[in-house]
């Protein structure tokens, strides 16, 4: 297909930081080719099996991978909740990985502990895709976020705001690192107790990426090309009233966007949402979060295809 040959074949997809900007660009380019001619890709992974190993539930990520694999003519095998229970009872994590990696050509893993995917990649016979581990990385989500930004706005020179739980949000951390590779200026909007971890800010400082932090979305909405909204979870607040006050002040509404937003501002969200974006935004020109979900399947097709040698 496009230039760089075999960069992803047989490789693990654990952290966005394992990839160069050129490699990411290549994945996005392949995604674009797939999207343009979706039907011709069926059969490319015929006979290949994706094994889905989720140690914590995530129906959407799972279904998105299944959809991507089926669209390429491959098949999926899934560790169900019953097997998960038996894993918890006896077999070690490393034994489970060793065994399951014998059943498939590629494996997607989701796990509650940080770094579980990296560890699995060390002991697995087949390449591993990190489907989210702990508060750490979720690289396929990041790639689909980048793809959406590239398609619906721009990557170069965009002003991107990220709003919500920036401290624990796993999609946020991956995304920040990826955007930093593109030299993009970022604006972080969050309550003080959920601001971006110092460690990540230090990494941005090292890379000389400029960023701004603020508490009120109203103060910056007019400067943004892209607003990436994430959930603010109830568990992060000891007091329910405090939670309601905070989550209320971060709610994105149609009025807010029409009054303060740029003409071509777009709104993204990894979904599911719980009230961070008012449903009346859904039908506006700003909303791209459902499209983002659709792009997710395309980007995962590109990743699976590249890893298994269906594309170059």
């Amino acid at each position: 297909m496009v230039a760089i040959r075999g960069t992803l074949k047989g490789r693990d997809v654990i952290s966005i930081n394992d990839f160069s900007r050129e490699e990411i660009d290549h994945i996005l380019k392949v995604s674009d080719c797939i999207e343009k001619d979706l039907d011709s890709k069926f059969g490319l992974l015929s006979g290949k099996i994706l094994s889905i190993l989720f140690f914590e539930p995530s129906t959407r990520t799972r279904m998105s991978f299944e959809s991507a694999m089926y669209k390429l003519g491959g098949r999926c095998i899934n560790m169900g909740p019953t097997e998960l229970t038996s894993v918890k009872k006896g077999e070690t994590f490393s034994d489970t990985i060793k065994v399951i990696s014998k059943y498939a050509d590629v494996m997607v893993l989701r796990h509650p502990s940080d770094g579980a995917a990296r560890y699995a990649s060390e002991i697995s016979d087949v390449p591993i895709i990190n489907g989210g581990d702990g508060t750490g990385q979720h690289p396929t989500q990041t790639l689909l976020d980048l793809y959406t930004i590239k398609k619906e706005s721009k990557l170069e020179g965009a002003n991107i705001g990220i709003l919500g739980d920036l401290k624990y949000g796993r999609t946020v951390h991956s995304l920040v690192y990826a955007l930093s590779m593109y030299g993009i200026d970022m604006t972080f909007i969050s309550p003080p107790n959920l601001s971006l971890p110092e460690e990540i800010k230090e990494d941005l400082d090292d890379k000389k990426i400029s960023y701004e932090e603020c508490e009120r979305i109203e103060d910056v909405i007019g400067d943004l090309d892209v607003l990436y909204v994430t959930r603010i979870q109830r568990e992060r607040f000891p007091d329910i009233m405090e939670y309601k006050k905070v989550s209320g002040s971060y709610k994105i509404t149609k009025d807010m966007l029409e009054e303060g937003g740029k003409e071509n501002l777009i709104i993204l969200h990894p979904l599911p949402r719980i009230g961070e974006i008012d449903p009346d935004v859904d039908d506006t020109k700003y909303a791209r979060y459902f499209l983002q979900t659709k792009y997710g399947v395309v980007v995962r097709m590109a990743i699976l295809g590249l890893m298994l040698g269906g594309f170059e």
């Binding site: 490393s94 770094g115 581990d133």
Partner: protein, 151 residues
């Protein structure tokens, strides 16, 4: 150099750890998991005058030859330490410890949710990103640490 060695009695067999940054001798013992009462005969000299270092500590462990893994641990708290392996009162091997590129299995990851803290089968592994000042990164969860906490 020769005169300094006389400060602590020579040993017949074992390991002499010299040029330990002053004040770190007790930590070296901790790292080597030498506790009182101990199997080994251990002698220590603290705040010894040193031409290169001003003041230094020395630890002598009799009848114990330090392995590579133990050596790595010492490098983390006493960067300039030198190891002398002694057999029959003679130095048979001498080297300066150095912080390795990777550190396996001896340091705890400070991230409580890291797989190395959640699953007892998974040994820790850190990449040394900077030796001075010390900066380590967990290869699994990616957390960075500058203060060393031994397992």
């Amino acid at each position: 150099m020769k005169r300094e060695k006389l400060r602590v009695e020579p040993i017949k067999d074992g390991t002499v750890i010299d040029h330990i940054m002053s004040g770190q001798a007790l930590n070296v013992l901790k790292v080597l998991k030498i506790k009182s009462p101990s199997e080994e005969t251990v002698s220590m000299a603290m705040n010894v005058s040193s031409r290169e270092m001003g003041k230094k500590d020395i630890v002598k462990v009799e009848d114990r030859r330090l392995g590579k893994g133990e050596l790595n641990k010492i490098a983390l708290i006493a960067t300039n330490a030198t190891i002398n392996i002694i057999e029959e009162y003679a130095v048979v091997e001498k080297y300066r410890v150095s912080v390795p590129k990777f550190i396996d299995g001896i340091i705890r990851c400070k991230n409580q949710n890291c797989i190395t803290n959640r699953d007892e089968d998974v040994a820790t592994r850190f990449k040394v990103e900077s030796k001075d000042p010390l900066s380590l990164r967990c290869v699994y969860c990616g957390s960075r640490t500058s203060s060393v906490e031994f397992l």
